[in-house]
């Protein structure tokens, strides 16, 4: 019965292949088909989530019926179940948003690329084999390249070009890392790599892990390979930007954390952690300082998103269970908040035609629901109590304290201060400055989705324990490599 979770991968795939057939029958049916498929995917993800969390055991799907490491296995543990659900729900909301927000033709190709982006991120999170991770990473990346350039403006093409070049370099480095790992261990299965990691020569391990980190840093938007991110976020269609920020970057970060923590038995692990902390810190600093100077609100949100991603990377780089759990909590909260904010900004752009700071003047009177949503999101990112990100920032600070890295605490507090400056500036523009437009009737469906996300933010902010328990299990899933190895039924005949 558990193997039916393979439908998480098979369903978006077969639907994407089915779209040309549907299109030749009727063009209008394509967008509703997207909403239907994402709804079904949400249902399957909810079933998987329920199974994994109520039984406490991860689902292992063996493709082809061969036991790992002979075959490829999917490992849907606590973290994967949680995030596959988040991906499915976000995609469903964005599918609904796309029905109105996408006006550029050809829409049927947009639907196919959308489904495959969702599939790629789901696969990256659910896989248990390192080369399979590469393949799903490429599926995500290539769909992202095409979706970034989808609007076909000069800006979009240039953003896509930057992304493709950086992504190509990243994936080549990732393959070199895989080559080094395969050359020294002879296997590609993540559980077996974790088991045999102690035998790796430290020089080889250091180089291989560094290459893997650089390869994943492109998707995970870490400095210096995140130069593509602000342009791509600005030029992509609005639902696509939301998807990038809500789950594509999280899939990259998860892969980074997974690869890192499974190989913690190698001799040079500390060096790789140091590399990650440096990258994360630079990401935060440059992200926050750049956000301060922006006049285009969507670009400002993009830089803010990059800075938050830096926090998550720093959390993973602390090397402790507390750090990992705090980062996972931040991933969940950040996904919710950024989904809300990019959707709201996209809606403003759709109604008013522009997203510069001037367009936001007096938004409180013109589109009060949207302005309220953006305000809640902004307040929560700064880290004000009673909203969800407050709790994850506190956890990050506590984890840094326990690990003895006081520089990280200074970083988090400093960054929150800078965030307060530019977000309060935005809130001031929206509510306290006079705009020159009349009240616009806001779409009921979009309003409902935004209110739902706002409610989630406030609920988690006021009563975080429910989510915190789930997150702790998910964090333990990543940190505890020994448990991971035990959970995967490795074939006994294939070991050195």
């Amino acid at each position: 019965m558990n193997q039916y979770a393979a439908l998480l991968i098979a369903l978006p795939l077969i639907s994407a292949f089915f779209v040309p057939v549907i299109k030749s029958l009727s063009k209008k049916v394509v967008m509703p088909f997207l909403v239907l498929v994402t709804a079904v995917q949400t249902g399957i993800a909810a079933w998987v989530f329920n199974e994994v969390y109520s039984s406490g055991k991860p689902m292992i799907i063996m493709a082809g019926g061969f036991k790992p490491p002979v075959g490829i296995n999917l490992y849907i543990g606590h973290f994967a179940a949680l995030f596959v659900l988040i991906i499915a729900v976000t995609s469903f909301f964005m599918a609904v948003f796309s029905m109105k927000a996408i006006t550029v033709e050809p829409k049927d190709k947009y639907v196919m690329l959308f489904l495959l982006l969702m599939l790629g991120a789901t696969g990256m999170i659910a896989t248990g084999d390192i080369f399979n991770l590469f393949v799903f990473m490429e599926i995500t990346a290539i769909s992202a390249y095409a979706l970034t350039a989808y609007n076909k403006t000069g800006e979009a093409s240039e953003a896509a070009m930057k992304y493709i070049i950086l992504g190509g370099i990243g994936s080549s480095f990732f393959l070199v890392g895989i080559a080094l790992i395969y050359g020294s261990l002879g296997t590609l299965n993540m559980a077996q790599i974790a088991q045999l990691a102690g035998r790796m020569n430290p020089t080889v391990a250091q180089a291989a892990l560094a290459m893997l980190v650089f390869g994943l840093a492109v998707e995970a938007e870490l400095f210096p390979l995140n130069a593509w991110a602000p342009d791509a976020y600005q030029a992509a269609p609005h639902p696509v930007t939301t998807m990038f920020s809500a789950f594509v970057v999280k899939a990259g970060l998860y892969a980074l954390a997974r690869v890192l923590y499974l190989t913690h038995a190698v001799g040079s692990w500390g060096h790789v952690l140091k590399l990650l902390i440096v990258l994360g810190t630079l990401t935060v600093v440059i992200g926050e300082l750049s956000a301060l100077r922006q006049t285009n609100v969507k670009r400002m949100f993009a830089y803010s998103s990059i800075a938050q991603v830096g926090f998550i990377a720093v959390g993973f780089a602390l090397g402790t269970q507390a750090g990992v759990t705090a980062s996972v909590f931040h991933m969940v909260n950040h996904a919710i908040v950024k989904a809300l904010m990019f959707m709201a900004v996209g809606y403003v752009a759709f109604e008013l035609g522009g997203v510069n700071l001037e367009d936001f003047k007096g938004l409180g009177k013109t589109m009060p629901l949207t302005a309220f949503a953006i305000t809640v999101g902004a307040i929560s990112i700064i880290g004000i109590p009673l909203f969800n990100i407050f709790w994850s920032k506190i956890q990050l600070i506590l984890a840094a304290l326990k690990a003895g890295k006081t520089g990280v605490i200074a970083l988090i507090l400093g960054a929150s201060l800078v965030e307060a400056v530019y977000y309060i500036r935005l809130i001031h523009t929206m509510w306290f400055e006079e705009g020159d437009r009349d009240r616009i009737k806001e779409n009921l469906i979009f309003g409902t989705i935004m209110l739902l996300l706002v409610a989630l933010i406030i609920i988690i902010g006021v009563a975080p324990n429910f989510v915190w328990n789930i997150v702790q299990k998910a964090g333990a899933d990543i940190y505890n490599a020994a448990q991971y190895i035990k959970n995967v039924p490795l074939l006994p005949g294939v070991s050195p």
Binding site: Q3, G64, G183, L491
Partner: protein
Amino acid sequence: MVMKRVLAILTILIIGYWMASALANVPFGADKMLVGQYYLNHVKEQTGAVNAVTAVVVNYRGFDTLGEVTVLFIASTGVAALLWRRKKERTAKSEGSIVLTTGARLLFAFIVLFGAYIFIHGHLTPGGGFPGGATIATAFLMLYLAFSAYEIPHKSFEVTEGIAGMGYVTVGLIGLAIGSYFLFDWIWQTWGWGHSNIGRLFSAGFIPIIYTIIGIKVGTELTGIVDSMVKEPKEGGE
């Protein structure tokens, strides 16, 4: 300007030294196989193919191949989406030379046949779905080069591509239904066809079927990419 080149060369030398020092510890030509040896020992009985690489690609690591087919599909869709205009037409200025046009007419069928041979015999000889499909696309490319007004029937190629892709996932889903694992080789392992035929054409379970599907898919996809790139927007249209 010079600064940029110097920095680039420095970065490259550092990366190169680092990679070389890591590779010095991975001895060239030594037997490092772990899972590979298991594959070689068991490939004939578990999959029925004699070409071990094919068995790995389609059977043992079939999930990766599904992903690869998807990647090519995304590329084809992306190219079509980015080069989409309301009306497109071919703008070749002249026909190919007489050698090209005659040769194209004569050789087209043979090249398609050769491509089909490559993917049908994937489990016995090197090759498989991807080179086979690429060969078929080359045949169509030759027609594009030779004739200035030739066009493939775009809509039906797209539908074929979609149906071929669905076919691959359906084969996997049938495996899920019959053998309770996604991408289970139900022809070889449940029905037991071809067990006595190892080394000949009708063996190796569902490998020929999947490779045929992949060959058709890749052929139509690459031809579609060529078609999108060669056409230019019509004057007076978008």
